[in-house]
Assembly symmetry: D4
Homo-oligomer: 219 residues x 8
Amino acid sequence: GYAKIDSHRKMRSGFAEVVFCQGKRDEFLLEIFHRIYKDEGEVMGTRASLAQYELLHKELPQVTYDPVSHILKIEKKDKKRSGLIAVCTAGTADIAVAEEAAQTAEFFGANVERIYDVGVSGIHRLLSRLEVIQKANCVVAVAGMEGALASVLGGLVSRPVIGVPTSVGYGANMGGISALLTMINSCANGVAVVNIDNGYGAGYLATQINRLGVHDEEA
Amino acid sequence: GYAKIDSHRKMRSGFAEVVFCQGKRDEFLLEIFHRIYKDEGEVMGTRASLAQYELLHKELPQVTYDPVSHILKIEKKDKKRSGLIAVCTAGTADIAVAEEAAQTAEFFGANVERIYDVGVSGIHRLLSRLEVIQKANCVVAVAGMEGALASVLGGLVSRPVIGVPTSVGYGANMGGISALLTMINSCANGVAVVNIDNGYGAGYLATQINRLGVHDEEA
Amino acid sequence: GYAKIDSHRKMRSGFAEVVFCQGKRDEFLLEIFHRIYKDEGEVMGTRASLAQYELLHKELPQVTYDPVSHILKIEKKDKKRSGLIAVCTAGTADIAVAEEAAQTAEFFGANVERIYDVGVSGIHRLLSRLEVIQKANCVVAVAGMEGALASVLGGLVSRPVIGVPTSVGYGANMGGISALLTMINSCANGVAVVNIDNGYGAGYLATQINRLGVHDEEA
Amino acid sequence: GYAKIDSHRKMRSGFAEVVFCQGKRDEFLLEIFHRIYKDEGEVMGTRASLAQYELLHKELPQVTYDPVSHILKIEKKDKKRSGLIAVCTAGTADIAVAEEAAQTAEFFGANVERIYDVGVSGIHRLLSRLEVIQKANCVVAVAGMEGALASVLGGLVSRPVIGVPTSVGYGANMGGISALLTMINSCANGVAVVNIDNGYGAGYLATQINRLGVHDEEA
Amino acid sequence: GYAKIDSHRKMRSGFAEVVFCQGKRDEFLLEIFHRIYKDEGEVMGTRASLAQYELLHKELPQVTYDPVSHILKIEKKDKKRSGLIAVCTAGTADIAVAEEAAQTAEFFGANVERIYDVGVSGIHRLLSRLEVIQKANCVVAVAGMEGALASVLGGLVSRPVIGVPTSVGYGANMGGISALLTMINSCANGVAVVNIDNGYGAGYLATQINRLGVHDEEA
Amino acid sequence: GYAKIDSHRKMRSGFAEVVFCQGKRDEFLLEIFHRIYKDEGEVMGTRASLAQYELLHKELPQVTYDPVSHILKIEKKDKKRSGLIAVCTAGTADIAVAEEAAQTAEFFGANVERIYDVGVSGIHRLLSRLEVIQKANCVVAVAGMEGALASVLGGLVSRPVIGVPTSVGYGANMGGISALLTMINSCANGVAVVNIDNGYGAGYLATQINRLGVHDEEA
Amino acid sequence: GYAKIDSHRKMRSGFAEVVFCQGKRDEFLLEIFHRIYKDEGEVMGTRASLAQYELLHKELPQVTYDPVSHILKIEKKDKKRSGLIAVCTAGTADIAVAEEAAQTAEFFGANVERIYDVGVSGIHRLLSRLEVIQKANCVVAVAGMEGALASVLGGLVSRPVIGVPTSVGYGANMGGISALLTMINSCANGVAVVNIDNGYGAGYLATQINRLGVHDEEA
Amino acid sequence: GYAKIDSHRKMRSGFAEVVFCQGKRDEFLLEIFHRIYKDEGEVMGTRASLAQYELLHKELPQVTYDPVSHILKIEKKDKKRSGLIAVCTAGTADIAVAEEAAQTAEFFGANVERIYDVGVSGIHRLLSRLEVIQKANCVVAVAGMEGALASVLGGLVSRPVIGVPTSVGYGANMGGISALLTMINSCANGVAVVNIDNGYGAGYLATQINRLGVHDEEA
Ligand SMILES: Nc1ncnc2c1ncn2[C@@H]1O[C@H](COP(=O)(O)O)[C@@H](O)[C@H]1O
Ligand SMILES: Nc1ncnc2c1ncn2[C@@H]1O[C@H](COP(=O)(O)O)[C@@H](O)[C@H]1O
Ligand SMILES: Nc1ncnc2c1ncn2[C@@H]1O[C@H](COP(=O)(O)O)[C@@H](O)[C@H]1O
Ligand SMILES: Nc1ncnc2c1ncn2[C@@H]1O[C@H](COP(=O)(O)O)[C@@H](O)[C@H]1O
Ligand SMILES: [Mg+2]
Ligand SMILES: [Mg+2]
Ligand SMILES: [Mg+2]
Ligand SMILES: [Mg+2]
Ligand SMILES: [Mg+2]
Ligand SMILES: [Mg+2]
Ligand SMILES: [Mg+2]
Ligand SMILES: [Mg+2]
């Protein structure tokens, strides 16, 4: 097919290719999964449907699927994880995106602590978990609606905060644009932002940052 | 001139007319100040320039001017105030709008507590003032940039929170639209929003709410 | 699960938690309804589908469902209501949102008067109901399309007006953004705005305001 | 110069050319005023500055200037006017735009009734002038901020209403876009909209409509 | 039900009520059709689905339905039509909206000439029909994509042009906002605009204008 | 300084570097003009102020300045021009942008025909110039307000049309965004668009296209 | 029907009419295909569904359909192609739009080189194909998400680059608006832009440009 | 004054407070500079005007000012720097923002390599500097107009890339929103974004990341 194999990538970036499954045609999905699996001994896909899982599972029975994060993968056994990333959400509806971030980071070798449903409408929930959050090399803040969680976290930790606006909400949330603007305009320092619902991108970036914070052989 | 005197207004609303000075021509400003002062024995104007103050001061030497709130007024002596409104700001740059709200509420007979520069990037500053905020009949949350203060306050008090987005910030704050969207999408309950930089409107509405909470003759 | 029980909330706010049903997974919805019902002796959910009603009804046959407001609830018998809230709509298509507001306020203990289909294209309909509207402690103005109702009401009453823009309309209504802008720019005083189609938020805030206006034990 | 003389225009449209003065260079302004004055025996310019007036006045001392509407003109004596157009404004700040509309219509031969400062925040002011408004062949509704006046008028008259959104307001008025959206989404029938602050366009269109309603020789 | 009968309307406006069918619940649609039919001897509904037609047809077999305009109606026999309205479209995809306009105008008693598929990408098609267009009392210009038709027509006729932007197109047409902006910014005089896809509103307004142009008993 | 000399450019593109003068600091402007003049024997700058001209003129007295296009240049004598580009404008206010396009194309060796003030509100002006326009290898359509000129030209010629939206207009023109959307949504084929007010970009692209159409040594 | 046959078109433009199939009703699609096929001996339609193919195939068994580009056509045998157009995509998801461009250009007689999946996240893929790209008379750059490919190509070639933003992506891509803005603001010279997902328009324009570059009888 | 001293901050975050000078009133600026200087022995302010420099310089003659970055500061002597941050710009006009980032990072103890004017329109300029860029712990990509630099860098390095959109450009750049959208939609992994023109925020975040990458005492 027309798809170019980015064979330099792992060398350049330290990360193997991850498949963006949404909208991929069946034969192409099969081919690319086989190819990466053969090259890397493991493979991960994001935004996969149940039907795509079933398709792949027939040919590659080792494939597993998580309906919350919509991640499909075959993962090597006994991979070591290092460092620490904290993944926080404002509400329960943001967990799907948060799991995409968390599982991406885990696949790439990071330890992840999940701190979910700690949005600013009940700030004590967040404050009670502060100790573990402050231990992480990087904090991922996943929030829809008004997305204020990223700013509050930015003010509470000394490590980078990655804001992931989500499309959770309705009306003037404009599919996540409102939360995106909130995070971009953060009055707290040390906050940067990725695309709406882009858990994968946040997990990837958090892994890059976490690797810098691991001071021996792992990263 | 063409201006209609809304003589019903005080009867209908319980509030005398306040002058929106910005852009008014001199002769018109003079005429309307004289007229309301004669009818009410006091008069207030918002968004006034220093030049407008000097103009009015020549004819009405009792007029005072506050360069922070840009409020011009002649106020009756010994007015009694009742109830309590808390006016909070995220930063120091939001104080101009907050003072417009606070002084409007005071002019209309409310007690006001000012809690300024308590934005979410240093949440302990807000938490340390919670006791007084929770005593108010109504809380006004004034914030620019990402405007997260309104949501955090909404989660901490049992009384109505009026969000006032400000145009403070730059870039993707889009002149305050970003803070407005944040407040409209608040994940906390009990938050309603007025126009960007509309301290007057917030002070007016807070007074209406405060009057309901005052259980004897005043309201 | 990951959901945090906000056990402080009722204490902090005077309101029990209400379930946002839309998009919740079945097992989670069941668990949270059971839990709140056990704690509070009653429970309410908004934006529920018929299928969610049927699911809950099997386990909790006391649950009732209103297909107009999409509210699911089990309500205590013989609750006393106090004060008065007026809920007005511009058209008949706005009634779904208005009922969410009205039933939320009633669940939280307020008396509600409904004044529907009194939009500004036939202003005499509104004027003929003015007496009852002016008696309320708080007025909720629900309108889509150009959303002018909130401003007109703001000019006619002395109590706070909560504007609820709706997504009713088409074309340049932009899913309710147009009505939201109208209400935020209201030339009348005493108008504040909640999110598009957020009847629940308006009902909650109206209850807070109404409680302030009730001068004895109830609120 | 490069400017094309649209010599067909009056024949095609029944209206002589009007000069848009804003931003025109001096020599061009002089040339075009002279030319039209010679052809038509009269000439009108909109959005003119005081400096432009002074420039023209030196060469054409008959030129008059109105600093409210920013209209420059030399008008034939004893022109007959026919029909009736009602020009209404929400506030006093909208009068500049309204006068551009009114004076354009008068220049083109229509009778104009001005009904200013009758915005929806005090609806009785409008209702008290209804009789004269209902006599007009066409109603021009000039309003900024939330622009609700056009809808209310649309519901009260049987003749066409031309909405002119103005840039009056601040914050989320977005330079008049908010009022424009309000008018375009009008729930009342018989309302059409021209560009923000386009008093000239409204006066032109109102004249076209008024001419249709004049049943003898004038139109 | 909650729906208010606007009994003043015909008196005030000269037009009977028309039903906006989209989204109306069945029982309500039936009730309102029966009621208006009884009062007026005829009735019209817009944006009706085939299913709504079938529902009404069972009870009112005289009802007819046009799947292009989505208009449902029972119309009096032998109604006289007067004057002339020209309804033009840019493409064939705009015809649905144009027919809503044309049939509305015909229902209200106007003669209508249809000039379809004469968009600016082949300007000779429009020029060849100019004679009939110039005879009309009012021109309706229906166009999606870039919506340039309204400006071109505005430059060619002496009567009012009503622009109806449509949602026809894709990509940066933004559901019709692009065509709406084009028409609002028209460089030609005598153009006013209604909402996207609002054929009904254009037909109504064109009828108002046409009635003014009819110089005997009809209007 | 930090500025990189793009020494490959002429080789890669066939065009020497042009200086974007707006906002450049004096010393930098002088340095870069000297350098390019030395390398190429000629040099051009766009968006230059009169003050910048005076600055350069002191050191390089051969520099000329055109206050309409804001182009500064030293041009080789006796350059040959080939092919033909037609540059059209809707109004006279668009001429500044059009001249930037025309003079850029001439500097790069194209013949240019100017057809100005032929906007769609008087379509006969354009039609009367069609013969020369149809002879060009490329047509540049410069228009603000509703920007319909590009579509009309697209329907009349067989060569590429480059649309240049301008910021000419007010209100809902949104600084040129409206004209940009019009041109991007063109219903005519063969139209492509550059940035608002980007006469330089259009002149450059037109030159590239014109060169393809010149069938001998010049291009 | 109301559809106008644009009989001048081929003469004026050198291109036969192409059918925009999306949303066309069956009988109309059949009629127009038959008619053009009869006139031209070949016919092409874009944005066709499989169902439309099946419909046409029954009556015109020579019709072929490509499910990637959604192009339906009957093409003359042994058509000669000339010149060269390079069609590039950033990712594999952009190929559908690219094929619409490529096949349109081929239908109109151009040679096309496809260079797919060479987006800027792995720039070496693009650089390795530069030689063939630089040979083309025109380059089409098809990209969604951030759409940076057009700028990079603009800096690398001497021929015109046509940017086609696609709706590929999610979140803040806003259905392609983001990629459109990127391309319109290109810092490279020689880039012009067509509508989002408008492969047809790009193919048409590229053909016009390619024809200019072919120096003998073909164009 | 009302300003709260955030005395926890350095403890919480590891960074002393930096003064946002823009719009601060003189007495306040003086007070806060004195205070921080006394506490920390050094102090930095961003977005300062020349006038503010002169004001401070009178009282604190050690203050220095850089007119490019608009940074005011008194810095400790002999501070050690560690790690490496690469700051890249697309054009020369982006250097002001880049210097704000670079000098912030240096003030907080990082080594900075500047790679300016390497935008994507001449990609070889960037490629020739790749070696040093790939050595950095963090890369800051500063770009206006279409902002493609961030994506290209994201594809070339293994460390985090912080995109800083700038307001450089005109027309559809919409004050930097276009570049912001480009960067948020980056097709390359490992890119996160801060507010438009927010060099300070990027420098802060880059310092946080760089500190993680420094494996001994410094960070
Ligand atoms: N959920 C995601 N969001 C954004 N990018 C992704 C996601 N999952 C994978 N990717 C990226 O998309 C690339 C694959 O795109 P494609 O060539 O279309 O398969 C991968 O190499 C990843 O860099
Ligand atoms: N219709 C609604 N719109 C907005 N917020 C709601 C609505 N219904 C309930 N809520 C709020 O959403 C919270 C529950 O959210 P969750 O934790 O996702 O169940 C409740 O405590 C309410 O504050
Ligand atoms: N008016 C203009 N609009 C857009 N780009 C321009 C303009 N004038 C010159 N340029 C481009 O900007 C580049 C110079 O940018 P700079 O490095 O900032 O001087 C030139 O090489 C041209 O490609
Ligand atoms: N995919 C496409 N996108 C934009 N325009 C198209 C496309 N395919 C065909 N066209 C144009 O649309 C015209 C037909 O439109 P219609 O009159 O609605 O059938 C053709 O003459 C082409 O100019
Ligand atoms: Mg929750
Ligand atoms: Mg502070
Ligand atoms: Mg009704
Ligand atoms: Mg007034
Ligand atoms: Mg057609
Ligand atoms: Mg002209
Ligand atoms: Mg790929
Ligand atoms: Mg440069």
